[in-house]
């Protein structure tokens, strides 16, 4: 796939993503960087979602950072919790920035020589939202010592 074809395809995919989400959420977009962000209302912790199209790798990346950080002396707890949560997901993963203590959810969709539809975008956002919504309050409770690491690991 030539660089020109990759660029045109990335533009096309980004347009599909924007059209799919603009009616559903209050989005902020950056067309040059092919980047869209929006917030959703959850039961407890706010969820901010960032979706971008990586032209070089031909993938759509959904990222969501939780609005809190683990301090340096609790990062190992966060790492164990993130591994435990990821193991229970069918798709996507939680990971910790081991320098900063941020917790990130990530899900990727390849668009190499293939397209997506608004239903694909909706499915991506719904899947991510379900995973984040299930665990964000648990990570916060772990941070606030309201939930022990053992209790976090034993969550179903």
């Amino acid at each position: 796939m030539s660089d020109e074809v990759k660029k045109a395809h990335a533009d096309e995919i980004f347009n599909i993503i924007c059209e799919s989400l603009n009616g559903e959420f209050e989005c902020s977009t950056n067309d040059e960087k092919r980047f869209i962000k929006f917030s959703t209302v959850s039961a407890d912790v706010p969820i901010r979602i960032y979706i971008s199209v990586d032209e070089k790798r031909q993938v759509v990346k959904l990222l969501s950072f939780m609005p809190f950080c683990f301090p340096a002396d609790r990062i190992t707890d966060a790492c164990i919790a993130a591994c435990s949560a990821t193991n229970k997901l069918a798709n996507g993963c939680f990971s910790v920035d081991i320098n900063e203590g941020n917790i990130m959810f990530k899900q990727t969709v390849s668009v190499f020589n293939t397209s997506i539809t608004s239903a694909t975008v909706k499915n991506l956002v719904d899947t991510a939202y379900s995973a984040i919504e299930k665990y964000n309050d648990k990570f916060l409770a772990l941070l606030n010592n309201e939930l022990s690491l053992e209790e976090f690991v034993s969550l179903q």
Partner: protein, 159 residues
């Protein structure tokens, strides 16, 4: 031009998995009942035990590899930090650590719900997964055997 199958059925996708492995000249054992294949892919160093399957319930195409590396209880914390350092920077898929028994796996899942599935997409799943596991499995083994320190391990992954 990529071959496109709109809303491909699970069995069509399974056939695409087999066909992609054939093209890559990778030998496999296939199970037509649970729509899975098992194979060993040879990389730079450690052979990669692989299972590719169609998860009908969740509408996913899944590449899963159970690594031979198993961390003992006293090394689980180091392993968890290492796995997070990798997962934070990996493009697609994720390494999993069972914090209770120390086993490590890699999984890349791709939804086929309401989307086109092409041979290129299936090849991407196989090659992206293979390249990721191949780049990491030897370093995890070195970490287990204390041939590298955790600090040195994480430097390989952008830290």
């Amino acid at each position: 031009m990529a071959e496109i199958i709109n809303t491909a059925t699970a069995s069509e996708i399974f056939n695409m998995i087999c066909s992609s492995l054939d093209k890559l000249k990778i030998k496999y054992e296939k199970n037509d009942v649970d729509l899975s294949v098992k194979c060993v892919i040879f990389g730079r160093d450690i052979p990669i035990d692989t299972k590719l399957y169609v998860d009908i319930e969740n509408k996913l195409i899944v590449f899963q590899s159970n690594l031979k590396t198993v961390f003992p209880p006293e090394k689980i914390v180091n392993a968890a930090v290492a796995i997070n350092a990798v997962n934070f920077n990996v493009i697609d898929g994720a390494f999993g650590l069972d914090v209770l028994n120390g086993t490590v796996d890699f999984k890349l899942s791709c939804s086929f719900e309401e989307r086109q599935v092409t041979n290129d997409l299936v090849a991407y799943i196989i090659l992206c997964s293979f390249n990721t596991v191949d780049a990491v499995n030897d370093k995890l083994e070195q970490l287990l055997k204390e041939e590298i320190e955790l600090e040195e391990f994480v430097k390989n992954f952008g830290y």
